[in-house]
């Protein structure tokens, strides 16, 4: 029984990371119908900045903070410089651009920081089952989720952002600067992605270190329903815990396959994900 509880707890810690990454994808998807494939690269650069700052100052928390700021800035820049020019084109254009950003930034990271793995620390002590580092991962992601919920639900900015996402033209009619809201959304999403990146990277940082975590992040987002932030968070934790069981009871080599099976099972029962709202789409 102890083993089962331990598996659940460590699954929750991984799940928190998937939840953060899923959330970072969904914030953008909801507003623009674009799956931001650049997100792992934005998170990666953020993690490298954390690595550099921590190396220079000796403070993990300065590195952590600078990663979040880097994430925010990179998200804003990506939207303003690369995505905005194709705003009125099909979402496919933007998606292809995000793929380009992914490849460019991963290559750039290798050129700046080398492709060799660097050791990258945990926030807190990582030893033992549900270590302080695990608790920090779960706690920080839940805190971010609550803050985001509060922002979207109870602030004028959040109301503007939701209006811009749901009905951009109507939002403009009531004076909302829709473009600005998209930029803010990209910044916030990328900040959440950077948090996921810093949590997912340890113990080693290399240009492709976040790829697997992001595949699980996308899986979590789809399982939860791409239209629902709660779904993303739930999907993240569900996937983390499930994969933890699979890894221990069936063998770690089956984890990737299990993620696929979960995805297929959920989609065959609920094609739009567990928490999607039924809705009519314009065709």
């Amino acid at each position: 029984m102890d083993h089962f509880i331990n598996l659940t707890l460590s699954g929750l810690a991984n799940g928190a990371i998937y939840a953060a990454l899923a959330l970072s994808l969904i914030i953008i998807y909801q507003a623009t119908r674009v799956v931001n494939f650049a997100q792992p690269a934005l998170a990666l650069i953020s993690a490298y900045v954390a690595y550099t700052v921590t190396g220079a100052t000796g403070s993990y928390w300065l590195g952590f903070g600078s990663a979040l700021v880097t994430g925010l800035v990179l998200g804003v820049l990506t939207e303003r410089l690369l995505i905005r020019p194709v705003h009125n084109k099909s979402p496919l254009s933007a998606i292809v651009i995000t793929l380009g950003v992914l490849l460019t930034l991963q290559g750039t990271a290798g050129m700046i920081w080398s492709n060799e793995p660097h050791s990258f620390g945990y926030a807190l002590d990582y030893r033992g089952m549900f270590s302080p580092a695990d608790a920090f991962a779960v706690g920080s992601v839940l805190l971010v989720a609550v803050l985001l919920l509060a922002l979207y639900r109870w602030t004028p900015l959040g109301l503007r952002m939701r209006a811009a996402a749901f009905r951009p033209e109507v939002a403009r009619m009531v004076g909302v600067r829709v473009g600005l809201m998209l930029t803010v959304g990209w910044g916030i999403a990328s900040l959440v992605g950077a948090l996921g990146g810093v949590l997912a990277a340890p113990p080693f940082l290399s240009p492709n270190v976040l790829d697997t975590a992001f595949v699980y992040g996308i899986t979590a987002a789809v399982v939860g329903g791409l239209d629902n932030p709660f779904g993303a968070i739930f999907g993240g934790f569900l996937l983390g815990v499930s994969l933890s069981y699979v890894s221990s009871y069936a063998g770690p080599e089956l984890v990737t396959l299990a993620a696929l099976v979960i995805l297929v099972l959920v989609l065959s029962v609920r094609p739009d994900g567990l928490f999607s709202r039924p809705q009519a789409r314009k065709v």
Partner: protein
């Protein structure tokens, strides 16, 4: 007529080679309800969308109280006192009734003013108060139209552009909306540009109107005159 509050001057808007609005001039006096009539595809909605900046004009000008709004971005129009209720209302069904209303006043910095406007809207539309925390998707068609108008009024506009408020509504509900427009005008001096296919109900409240046909103005007169012109009614208004 005194100096118009809203002046549309020789406006042209095209979709590719098609001139949807073709040299249209409209003068709307302060406190007037002005009907824009015409069949489907006459260019009514295009005209309204160009006035509110959602479409850019090929040529011509839009003036509001002497200010040239022709090249002003759509999201700025509300700052100049122009509010637009689109066809179907444009209620955001994913938001609650209250959130929809709040949205209309958000551009104002003064919080006290925003909440005063909200209270006023709930007084004006008691059914919206009862349903304030429900998603707007649960409202009936008539209630949605009220909500859409309420949201536009939250901005305390000087000119309200209203696109087909009667669309899909029962005649009784349409009547109620038309009465509301007249009351608002009497109480607050609101100026209304009312686009309607349902010419009869629009002319029942409007002071004056014009008839569009393939993007051009084919008639403009007082409501009484338009209603009295049998030839015009049969040819363009279908009753």
């Amino acid at each position: 007529m005194s100096k118009p509050l809203l002046r549309v001057e020789d406006l042209v808007t095209s979709y590719g080679a098609v001139r949807a609005v073709d040299s249209v001039t409209v003068d709307v006096a302060e406190g007037e309800i002005h009907a824009i009539l015409g069949a489907n595809g006459a260019g009514k909605t295009t005209l309204l969308r160009t006035i509110s900046g959602l479409l850019s004009a090929d040529s011509g000008r839009v003036w509001l109280d002497g200010k040239d709004l022709t090249r002003t971005p759509a999201e700025q129009h509300v700052h100049h006192g122009l509010a637009h209720v689109p066809e179907g209302g444009g209620v955001i069904v994913e938001l609650t009734v209250e959130e929809n209303l709040r949205l209309g006043g958000l551009w104002k910095r003064d919080r006290a003013e925003r909440s005063a406007a909200l209270t006023e809207m709930f007084d004006l539309f008691p059914p919206l108060w009862e349903r304030r925390s429900r998603p707007a998707s649960t409202l009936s068609g008539g209630e949605r139209q009220m909500l859409a108008i309420g949201r536009a009024l939250m901005a305390r506009p000087r000119v309200l552009l209203l696109d087909e408020p009667s669309l899909g509504l029962a005649p009784l509900v349409t009547q109620r909306i038309m009465r509301l427009l007249r009351d608002l005008r009497e109480r607050t001096g609101l100026t209304v540009v009312l686009v309607e296919q349902n010419a009869q109900s629009a002319l029942s409240v409007a002071d004056r109107g014009l008839v569009l046909w393939l993007g051009r103005v084919v008639a403009r007169d007082t409501s009484e005159q338009l209603l009295a012109d049998d030839q015009m009614r049969h040819a363009y208004l279908g009753f």
